[in-house]
């Protein structure tokens, strides 16, 4: 065992840690780095690892720190953090061969687990590289030869990787995907970006600086116009004067099996498919007037898309345009609920609305009037509005600052409508979407987050009203970039984002290609799950169900193994002819067998030569000469030269030929 050669493992661990560093607490990352580097240095200088006592103390201390930090949350997230800790500590204890293997195993598993948190092409490549380094390092640590071993080991690992690629591909395509066996929540509730389930001033503005994709959509038919791309997710129906939130619906998630993905067949004309990035909450996004077409999502009472469990990995679901069957009437209780406002706030606005209400005739006219008010008065659509204070925020917005982002205006409009006794609620979600390469799909990003208003009109149900459309129509038609063009400030916090420079031609081209590559990667590799597999294989002739798939996998793997054995058999046969001396020896042995001289392959060369010499005295000098050459070739440490080889070949030929002549001569004399 050569402990000098752990360098590849340090690199591998570095890669894995880099992938995890974002979700790990700082102390854990730093501690892990420290432990690994000191373990590595100890090995380099041929020191024994830490004394067991110290190691024990260290283990107890870090376990305590871990406990103090995570407080007994049991999710895969914490389990993975614990695994990082374990690996780091194991680096300090590398006394024996067994320790080396244990470290190898847990590092392999750590690389695998890291895939729970990263599924992009880039990170998959990085983690694959770390696997490669792990295997190379293991080889170097075990092979224990000096210089040049690294390159050799790398070559060998690469060769095995490449050779095994077909097996991997076949397994990946055909191995039956079964549903989850039990479930542990994946991520503890922290640190995912996306919509929140409350709305207060600034809530959506904070997302406007974020260009991460929220989801991507493929349409079976035509892509809807920009003005129709309202992706709704949440209904907020309670207002406390500043903040909108939800009536506490029973949203607790039960421990349930993760439902499968949607099928992957052709999309019908009236269908669209959403590939949702993980955001750690249960809601999904859909256009108005559509219903689920795949079994993994459902609509809640408000007609919003919901998952059974938090979306902590990428999910794919399908929707279909269809008028949802919704109640056409509001009960009195509901009417009261949707017009409830906190008393004693924003009196000025209330008074103004009451006055307008007297001036116009009917609710629809009032709504139209209020909307036009946003258009006619100098309201500004801006990412950096003046602060509104804590009380009477609507008053401040309507009569003083007149600056705001979508959530400000939506909130104000909803307040005014409620004060006019019109049942109203706020809807949040995303608005817009950028076309991907060749208009194959839409990319909806975090900065497309939006809030708007729904009002109840008798006979028409919930009607969408968007005050932002009155103030900044370009936001609706062309997106946030256009709307912010005059002011700047679009993605101003993120100078390296490619999305910021999307107006530069080649940057845009590259940006969209990258996104497309990522999308198809997500769709076909990362998202290759039960349904995708079945529908892909469904295109093959015959009915393929899961059991059939198992049979196919088993037989394909068996076939591959047979092929492997077959190839090595062929090689074994060919092998004899690769070394010219061995080929010659083989000829010689076969000649011996044919002539039946009484000495074969299992005898020494000397025995063969003397037996052959006894049998054919006339050939004895040649045979002895050949024997000598062969012996020199096989037992002399120096490489035999070409001349010797040529001579040996000549001798062999001579022996074979003369024997056949000799035999005819013998028979002649016998007669």
């Amino acid at each position: 065992m050569n402990r000098h050669h752990l360098d590849p493992w340090v690199a591998a661990f570095g890669l894995i840690l880099l992938a995890q560093v974002q979700r790990l607490p700082l102390w854990l990352s730093l501690g892990a780095c420290l432990a690994v580097v000191s373990g590595w240095l100890l090995q380099r200088h041929r020191k024994r690892g830490l004394r067991p006592l110290w190691l024990g103390v260290l283990a107890v201390l870090s376990a305590a720190a871990f406990w103090a930090y995570y407080r007994g949350q049991f999710t895969v997230d914490t389990a993975a953090s614990f695994l990082v800790l374990t690996v780091a500590l194991k680096w300090l204890e590398l006394g024996r061969r067994r320790d080396l293997f244990i470290l190898f195993f847990i590092q392999c598993y750590l690389a695998v687990v890291t895939l729970l948190f990263h599924q992009s092409m880039l990170w998959t490549g990085g983690l694959l590289a770390s696997l490669f380094l792990l295997f190379t390092g293991l080889q170097m640590a075990l092979g224990g030869r000096g210089q040049g071993m690294g390159v050799e080991a790398m070559k060998r690992s690469a060769l095995v990787f490449v050779k095994m690629l077909p097996v991997v591909i076949v397994l990946f395509i055909f191995f039956p995907r079964i549903g989850p066996l039990w479930s542990v929540p994946l991520v503890s509730e922290q640190g995912t970006t996306g919509l929140s389930d409350t709305l207060e001033p600034g809530a959506i503005t904070s997302l406007a600086q974020n260009d991460d994709p929220a989801f991507r959509v493929t349409f079976g038919g035509d892509t809807p116009d920009p003005g129709q791309r309202y992706w709704q997710a949440l209904v907020l129906d309670r207002f406390d004067g500043r903040r909108w939130d939800r009536r506490s619906l029973n949203d607790r998630e039960g421990i349930s099996r993760v439902p499968e993905d949607a099928s992957a067949g052709e999309l019908a004309d009236d269908e669209y498919e959403v590939m949702l990035e993980p955001h750690g909450r249960r809601w999904g996004f859909a256009l108005a007037d559509s219903v689920p077409a795949s079994a993994n999502v459902s609509l809640n009472r408000n007609g919003m898309v919901r998952f059974e469990r938090s979306v902590d990995t990428r999910r794919r679901y399908r929707m279909q345009y269809e008028q949802p069957t919704e109640a056409r009437r509001l009960s009195d209780a509901e009417r009261r609920f949707y017009t409830r406002l906190p008393g004693g706030t924003n009196e000025r606005t209330r008074g103004w609305v009451a006055q307008q209400r007297r001036e116009v005739d009917g609710r629809r006219a009032l709504i139209r009037h209020l909307m036009e008010h946003f258009n006619q008065k100098p309201f500004h659509y801006t990412l950096q509005p003046e602060a509104l204070g804590n009380a009477d925020t609507v008053d401040a917005l309507m009569f003083e600052t007149r600056e705001g982002f979508c959530e400000h205006y939506a909130s104000a409009l909803a307040f005014m409508l409620r004060s006019a006794d019109i049942p109203t609620r706020i809807v949040t979600g995303y608005l817009g979407g950028e076309a991907g390469v060749d208009n194959e799909y839409l990319i909806v990003r975090q900065y497309d987050a939006h809030a708007w208003v729904q009002a109840w009109l008798r006979g028409r149900g919930w009607v969408r009203l968007d005050p932002t459309a009155m103030i900044a129509p370009e936001r609706i038609e062309s997106g946030l970039r256009e709307a912010m063009q005059d002011q700047g400030g679009f993605l101003s916090d993120d100078p390296f984002s490619m999305n910021r420079y999307a107006d530069v031609g080649w940057v845009n081209w590259m940006r969209l290609r990258l996104d497309a590559a990522n999308y198809y990667w997500q769709r076909w590799v990362v998202g290759y799950e039960g349904q995708t597999q079945l529908s892909l294989l469904g295109r093959l002739p015959g009915d393929i169900d899961r059991r059939m798939l198992g049979v196919i996998t088993a037989s394909l793997v068996a076939l591959l193994i047979l092929a492997g054995v077959g190839i090595s058999l062929l090689r074994a046969r060919r092998r004899h002819f690769r070394d010219p001396w061995y080929r010659l020896y083989d000829q010689w042995c076969r000649w011996l067998e044919r002539q039946g001289v009484g000495a074969g392959r299992s005898d020494t060369l000397a025995a063969q030569v003397s037996a052959a010499g006894r049998r054919f005295p006339a050939l004895a000098p040649d045979i002895r000469a050949l024997g000598l050459l062969l012996e020199r070739a096989f037992y002399d440490p120096g490489q035999p030269d070409q001349q010797a080889l040529a001579q040996a070949r000549r001798l062999m030929n001579a022996i074979r030929k003369r024997k056949s002549h000799g035999r005819s001569g013998n028979t002649a004399t016998a007669e």
Binding site: V112, G143, A153, T313
Partner: protein, 323 residues
């Protein structure tokens, strides 16, 4: 392998597949491949990874599990190929005294122009010897064999194994040389001299025990074949010339070491006594002959003669020895 019930038939089966021969090229018939303990643990890691993939419906974890599994599978071939196309041959079986180690040596050579790393050679429970070969290289590996009893020694099976490159799979085979080593009797100091019948009058004991030297030492230049222990190293250090101390021992007075010399002792003891005398007389440079019931070796001196006598003693009672 639990106990003898399995082990014996297994060894019998293996021995049938690998007949004894001094030249051996391991191949498909006789290379055995199984996972190591670490390999079994690795399959555990595979199972856990697969479970993780299934439970979180994570396609990439499936992919990585398959990669790990395929690597494991590919290692079987890698490890096997590390032994295939090697040529093992016996360089010498060797001779030694009973109780000491037989200086057996074998040659191991790559015949396929591939480097071979971390090959381990081992006899029974002995310490393994690790050998690495460059492409086409051959190496002689000494593998001392412990001996106990006098006589021709069947060489033990030499286990050749490797778990390169990853230590997860082990391939092994046995090299079973056909030649035999020879174990000579362990010298035992005989009891105070009992004269052999025909050496009675020669004052043999005096000569036997006489210190070499005395007044009649002659010095003469070294000749090829002189015993090394007769060289005067002191003089060599002074002058740089190899000078041999010679003393007049009448060449006409060879000692005969005779089987019949030790009445009452059993065969092995007699052989041990004789071996002691052979060693003693050779050291003194005295010519001596050996008379055994079945054979006589004419008197002579020198290392070769000593070797021949000892070998004869070692093979005594085992029939003709091929030399």
């Amino acid at each position: 392998m639990p106990g003898k019930i399995v082990k014996r038939p297994w060894r019998r089966w293996v021995n049938r597949r690998i007949p004894r021969a001094d030249d051996y090229r391991p191949g498909r018939r006789n290379i055995f491949v199984l996972p190591t303990r670490e390999g079994l643990m690795f399959t555990g890691v595979l199972v856990i990874s697969l479970l993780t993939g299934i439970n979180y419906q994570n396609s990439l974890i499936y992919l990585f599990t398959f990669i790990l599994g395929a690597l494991f599978y590919g290692t079987i071939f890698q490890t096997y190929r590390n032994l295939e196309g090697l040529h093992l041959s016996l360089v010498r079986a060797g001779e030694s005294q009973a109780g000491e180690r037989l200086p057996m040596a074998i040659r191991i050579r790559d015949e396929e122009h591939r480097p071979r790393a971390a090959l381990r050679l081992r006899i029974d429970d002995g310490e393994p010897v690790t050998v690495s070969l460059e492409a086409g290289e051959g190496k002689v590996v000494p593998l001392p064999v412990p001996t106990r009893r006098r006589g021709p020694l069947k060489l033990p099976s030499i286990r050749l194994e490797t778990d390169f490159p990853f230590g997860l799979i082990r391939a092994w085979t046995w090299f079973r040389p056909a030649s035999r080593g020879l174990v000579t009797p362990r010298p035992v100091t005989p009891p105070p001299f009992e004269a052999s019948p025909d050496a009675e009058g020669d004052e043999g004991e005096v000569t036997l025990n006489a210190e070499p030297g005395g007044s009649d030492i002659r010095l003469r230049p070294y000749r090829l074949g002189d015993a090394l222990r007769r060289i005067s190293w002191k003089r060599f250090a002074r002058s740089g010339h190899l000078v041999v101390m010679d003393w007049d021992t009448p060449p006409a007075d060879p000692r005969w070491l005779d089987w019949e010399q030790f009445p009452g002792a059993d065969t092995e003891l007699r052989l041990s006594y004789l071996a002691w005398h052979v060693g003693r007389l050779s050291e003194q440079g005295q010519p001596f002959g050996l008379r055994l019931p079945d054979q006589t070796i004419e008197p002579d001196t020198g290392d070769q003669h000593e070797r021949a006598c000892l070998n004869r003693l070692g093979a005594f009672g085992f029939g003709e020895m091929p030399t």
